[in-house]
Symmetry: C2
Subunit: 619 residues, 2 copies
Amino acid sequence: MAQLLNDRRDVQFVLYEQLDIESLTKDPKYADLNRKTFDLVISEARTLATKELLPISAEGDREGCSFENGEVKVPESFHRVYQLIMEGEWIALSDDIDVGGQGMPQVVKMVVDELFQGANTCLAVGLGLTHGAGKLVEIYGTEEQKKLYLKKIYSGEWSGTMALTEPEAGSEVGELTTSAKKNPDGTYSITGNKIFITQAENNLTENIIHPVLARVEGAAKGSRGISLFLVSKYLVNEDGTMGERNDIECTGIEEKIGIHGSPTCSMAMGGKGTCIGTILGKENDGLKNMFHMMNEARLFVAMQGLGLSSTAYLYALNYARERFQGRHITKLRDPDALQVPIIEHPDIRRMLMMMKASVEGLRSLNYYVGFCMDKAELETTGKEEKKRLNGLIALMIPICKAHTTERGFELCNLAIQIHGGAGACREYPVEQLLRDIKIATIYEGTTGIQAMDLLGRKLGMNKGQLFQDFIDEVGKIISAAKEQPRIKGLADNFDAAMEKLKVTASTIGKAAGGRQVEEAFALAYPFLEVFGDMSIAWMLLWRASAATTRLAKIVGDADEKKLADKIAKNKDAAFYDGQIQTARYFITSVIPKTMGMMDAINNLDGAVAKISDAGFGGK
Amino acid sequence: MAQLLNDRRDVQFVLYEQLDIESLTKDPKYADLNRKTFDLVISEARTLATKELLPISAEGDREGCSFENGEVKVPESFHRVYQLIMEGEWIALSDDIDVGGQGMPQVVKMVVDELFQGANTCLAVGLGLTHGAGKLVEIYGTEEQKKLYLKKIYSGEWSGTMALTEPEAGSEVGELTTSAKKNPDGTYSITGNKIFITQAENNLTENIIHPVLARVEGAAKGSRGISLFLVSKYLVNEDGTMGERNDIECTGIEEKIGIHGSPTCSMAMGGKGTCIGTILGKENDGLKNMFHMMNEARLFVAMQGLGLSSTAYLYALNYARERFQGRHITKLRDPDALQVPIIEHPDIRRMLMMMKASVEGLRSLNYYVGFCMDKAELETTGKEEKKRLNGLIALMIPICKAHTTERGFELCNLAIQIHGGAGACREYPVEQLLRDIKIATIYEGTTGIQAMDLLGRKLGMNKGQLFQDFIDEVGKIISAAKEQPRIKGLADNFDAAMEKLKVTASTIGKAAGGRQVEEAFALAYPFLEVFGDMSIAWMLLWRASAATTRLAKIVGDADEKKLADKIAKNKDAAFYDGQIQTARYFITSVIPKTMGMMDAINNLDGAVAKISDAGFGGK
């Protein structure tokens, strides 16, 4: 049967033939694990995603969430599946066993995230938020807080949120006005309103735990005066049982273009009485602490982009194989020619190839970053190497988040396009994917915010060492590929593009730190896009390199004719050859465009900064 | 008050300062018209669009269409406004007065189309179909058919459709199976099913007229054996009154991602009795005749793309001016800095500039093609010039259609992005625009079909003369701009890009006609995209050239400082300077990417053609 979520073979290839995540098990931290365990976990997740999450996705979209008298109902069908997720203990998959986790590596969790998000992003996104709330308690909570909350959150018995955004403080979190007043008993009374808070009210769980950003009375203006609080829907008694209803109330939910099954709530705290919160970490450390877990949250949204794109790719691929329409391009004038499946048409192939290259490149990139996170936490990883890995992660996070979701949106659009008229109809699943993925370029820091993070913070961090470490990592792959005759040409071309990237990074980096700051930041997103495309190409070349070695083992010194034969008969040969063709496509047909974008960046043009307000027209 | 649909000043600029459409009135055909008449018509259309069509657009989206027992209801609020449109005689605005039209030039009708589509595309799109059905009757109808149908269609009393698509014959129209059998009285009995037929059933009009493609029994297979029929919901008596109900029935409507107010119908003909049709034109000429009006239909969809994009731009621009959030990029570390409207942020400006450049460039391009249509029909236009103009039109139509709608989709997405989280919410209008515009890249020939038309037919037509004429037209603008010091540099850069376009067209053209046909057609859409971007740049340079002349008249030899002063105080100066900045942005920051895409095309890579089916994975 045709696959629907992500391609099993491809996932295996990345984990074991590209990244070699099995190497983690050599470290004491993962000594009890092995490839079989990883595969078992992934296989179970795939079954759950395919058989339970996916079938209720369209239904959840149609039914949506409802709001009445402060109560929010999620789609009815979600309840049973949520119980299955809880039973499977999926939420804290990669957390330590002693805090209620399953002790798996982050990279394995990411495969699961991709599967769950690709199957039913509305249900899956809530799991990520719950986990994030738990993580904050784990890191910053007192022993008391941990005892009362942690296991209930990590198990999913209580759900979690992330309460940052306010009507007048969206991307500019430091402007928030929610206030906190310390009470004699050490708790705080919280007053304020939050908007766009995912699952802040829902009927999946009996209690809901909100990490809330607020300003203690008298604290500094701006981001320096923000503290982090734990506010629960029901107060929790000392024995862990649920106490009184706290004064945090849902005042409405948004009607949105997509993720209809995921409630987006407006919340009022302290509007009717007293909303009690306890502090998480120290006063005024709120934003710093919240940002500490930003990497995880942003990577999770990247997996939303990846999961939905991957599902979109397989839907489009299956449709293109099944749908017969039109004659082959070489037989347009032959009246007796039969109609062919549309996958044989060049333009459909182009779209599928773009989808394949992007999905696979982004899969490798995101898994790679997860794998770096795992390596940074190994007992045998030295201090310097940890620093290097954490730097690489910091550099790549904005790219993972923004590029996966922006590309993902385009890929879901291509999936519709491949379906033709059917793609725009709700009878087919792809239009929902496009609607669902849209929000991913906005929340957890818009694409514009990611681009500023990359250019304004990460690129110059540690005197540019993060970027240099990236260049070195890419260089290793290029060097290896240059040794392989079949892909040497690709490696050479990509190498030239990398040289241009270095120049571009230097140009825009200098401008951003100097007098051309406005020109530079108007090019921050194009720069991120360039960086993202180059990262995809890096991953695809790495894949091609691994595939070339393995293909040689299957086909030996076969000539072109025999090679084609092998590919037609041997599934592995076809897979590896597919990897090489994909890298070839991306480096030969996409990277030249990326290099053109670098030329544009190097022009550092000032028109965007210079045009007058009236010049934009419209008044 | 902020404008909402298209920018008045910009429309005026294109019509009178760029294209000079007033020149049409020198011809006897338009001798009775003048600029005042044009402006009056456009102004009335703007009022109707703003005050009547726009306010019911969101309501139409929420309410949608309903289907019950073969009857389709459009949104309730559409009825009153449809009457206003009929009263204003808007449908046949550019048709001859003696057939019931208003005798306006096509280019004026396009401004109206842009306004109506931008305000309420669901209502507007039906007007275009009705007009198209009328046009077929006007061109191919017998005197009897014209007498019975034409004025009722052109007035909008009866609505029209375009019934091509069948379940197994989407883009491949030649595969259709609907059949026609000639009756002794000269009529035909039609049997078959059609899908995706816009407004084929609706309760706006009492009768509905369907031009239907079908194959006469015994006719040739494929597209050569297709004939065109006129099938009406109610038969029409000889005296013009409505007769019996014909056996054409709606069997259902689609639930779609967007255009909820526009019913997309499945139709069964001859399923319950006899569906009577009369032939339009000769037997077996059906596809040729239908395609004769393809230019009009495709340009109309381009205006859908343009109208929605233009509205998206103005919504985004207004929001960016009103929404305060974050500090200016040069004051990020100043704790006392105030929040600024987001239009001051570089990344927001970049998105707005991309929207402005694209919308304005596409506006000029589409109006230009409409203006060419008008010029081709003037009494004083010679035979050779007519041929040249029609060639240019034929070349540009696939670009107008595909590029306006593909870019338009991206622009609506940018409008959401500029709104941040609000953009994804139904409370704001931009998410509907994204959903509504999606279908425009699919119907009337998908983007892939347009790309094949451009590469496979138009590029090599008349031994490449069409393309040469395009080059010559662009060359005139470049030469003029090179004479203007302020934009000479831009003209030089664009000239270099045009040289590269010539090489690229030659490379891909030869490949398409030779042994690399699969490689070439896998690059057909990238080539169309390149051609489209270059066309936008051409138009923007033309605009900049016109603006430079006019700006010089206002500011004289002012130095930079004084120029900035003038721009701040003089609205016209700001507008003209905005034109120059926009061209500068596009040629300096977008065209380098386009040139990179040309490099990719010139690589003529074969990976897309070569990858094996199994190599795509998924099984």
